[in-house]
Symmetry: C2
Subunit: 106 residues, 2 copies
DNA sequence: AACTTCTATCGTATTATTACGATAGAAGAA
DNA sequence: TTCTTCTATCGTAATAATACGATAGAAGTT
């Protein structure tokens, strides 16, 4: 009790839920928006964009990396982040399919 | 500390995060999938579809109602649920815009 | 080597979420 | 009225998520 019973749901349901979780916090939305509008990797200045501490931003970045939507590459003393295009397309496809399956009702 | 600092983010960022939260649990995905594939309102049999208790399912339904993605109408002793088409379209539009704004990178 | 810069992680406190049994209330059936 | 059915809510327990200061480690600079 208290634990999410994800083992009783299908892989695709859990994958979609994970994508949803990536979007389920305004800070992660802000991070993704910032990365998405760039045309290149962003090195470092993400923390300055957000009204959150460096530790908190790092946690959100780690969660987005776990889900796969962003990539981080070490570049000297900094780390460069960018959208993972492949996972982004996959998320777009999964969400579009899910959202388009709703039939009319009521 | 511990509280989500949603007040420092924009309304649209928080709205998108709320939509993400609706999708952020496999049980809610399962509920939405079940409702979405129907061509009519579903009265009652949602609990039997899910390996969760009636109380837990009711909580998930309440959360989906709060976010606006589903509607519930009292029909005799039962309650009929269905996708809220308007909010569903809104969610689709918001997500599509967000997902399509990613520029190429790396 | 010593210093600076950048980021991940640890430790920790607080709030949120998830889950379920039990109960209450609403509405039709007997 | 009494019974049954259905659903929301209460109470509660446990886990997850959020946030941040402090610290550690990696890498370049002086």
């Amino acid at each position: 009790m208290g634990t999410s019973k994800k083992e009783v749901f299908s892989n695709s349901q859990n994958r979609l839920a994970d994508i949803g979780k990536a979007f389920a916090h305004p800070a992660r939305i802000a991070i993704l928006e910032f990365l998405a509008k760039q045309n290149a990797c962003v090195c470092g200045d993400i923390v300055e964009e957000l009204p959150l501490s460096q530790a908190t931003v790092s946690q959100h970045l780690a969660e987005l990396k776990r889900i796969g939507l962003i990539k981080g590459e070490i570049e000297g003393p900094k780390v460069c982040y960018c959208i993972n295009k492949k996972a982004w397309q996959e998320a777009k496809q999964i969400l579009a399919q899910f959202l388009n399956d709703a039939k009319s009702c009521c």
